[in-house]
């Protein structure tokens, strides 16, 4: 009985670990992150490394187009022309975030797990730049490969 319990526990732990972001840490990609192109701004999307709801990893959409995935402990970024944008995640209930992006500006969008009816849902929120940068520095990069990184 004890052996079965151990195996179940190990399987759960493995599944939980597998659900976390596995990309390079922020410090490893920091130097490869390009500067923001002229006339554009940057939106950094991230999720803390919390294990709560770790198996729920919805796509992150911008204007209905997939730009990445909400993975615990991960971050990615997109550069876009200055303008208005709508960000959402594809979970049970779609909660949208609308924001204005200015030229040369960096906006931080944190996705976090909330309680849903049948399953948890992941919702985006806009975060103060200072706090956002601090939190991103603890995470792993999950975006498209950057030049100069593996």
């Amino acid at each position: 009985m004890l052996l079965i319990l151990r195996r179940v526990f190990a399987a759960c732990a493995l599944a939980t670990l597998a659900a976390c972001a596995s990309g390079p840490k922020y410090n490893e990609v920091k130097s490869a992150i390009p500067t923001i192109p002229a006339e554009q701004g940057r939106i950094i999307v991230y999720r803390s490394g919390s294990m709560v709801g770790a198996a729920i990893q919805p796509d992150v959409m911008m204007g209905g187009v997939k730009i990445g995935q909400s993975v615990p402990g991960g971050f990615f970024f997109v550069d876009r022309p200055a303008g208005s944008y709508e960000i959402s995640t594809s979970t049970e209930v779609e909660k949208k975030l609308t924001l204005v992006l200015e030229k040369g500006e960096t906006k931080y969008v944190k996705t976090s797990i909330g309680m849903g009816f049948m399953v948890g849902r992941v919702q985006p929120e806009l975060i103060d730049p200072k706090q956002g940068q601090m939190e991103v520095e603890e995470l792993s990069y999950t975006g498209t490969p950057l030049q100069g990184t593996k």
Partner: protein, 132 residues
């Protein structure tokens, strides 16, 4: 089980289900007329902390010492955006927002993406000008 008790259970279940399934009210707002600034933007600093309570139920606290840069004007008042920070209003969805001041009172939010005004019960606030 009596019929009324059963209905009570069903209604309670439905209420809880709607709460946890994210059926928050949409932020009540109206379209408004945006006028950009034609002069250098003023910067103000709040002397006191103000808590705003929109009808959507998600309160927002604007801290003493927070700075706000004039961004434009709408018929409901002057529009200020946070300096080195962000502000959102939340209901069914989350919207980036600026504050609207009129006569020394916060009277609502301006939602720049939706180009609309979300009214609040007016709340007096003490602030000082920090120049342009």
């Amino acid at each position: 089980m009596k019929k009324s008790a059963a209905w009570g259970l069903v209604c309670s279940f439905a209420a809880i289900a709607s709460l946890v399934s994210g059926c928050a009210a949409e932020v009540a707002r109206q379209q408004t007329q945006w006028q950009p600034l034609s002069t250098a933007p003023a910067i103000i600093e709040f002397r006191e902390t103000v808590t705003l309570e929109p009808s959507s139920g998600y309160s927002r606290t604007l801290n003493a010492g927070s700075q706000w840069r004039e961004a434009g004007r709408i018929p409901q008042g002057q529009v200020f955006r946070p300096v080195n920070g962000v502000l959102t209003v939340e209901g069914r969805h989350v919207h980036e927002a600026y504050i609207v001041l009129d006569g020394g009172r916060v009277v609502g939010f301006y939602l720049p993406v939706e180009q609309s005004f979300a009214a609040l019960p007016p709340k007096p606030v003490q602030y000082q000008n920090k120049g342009n």
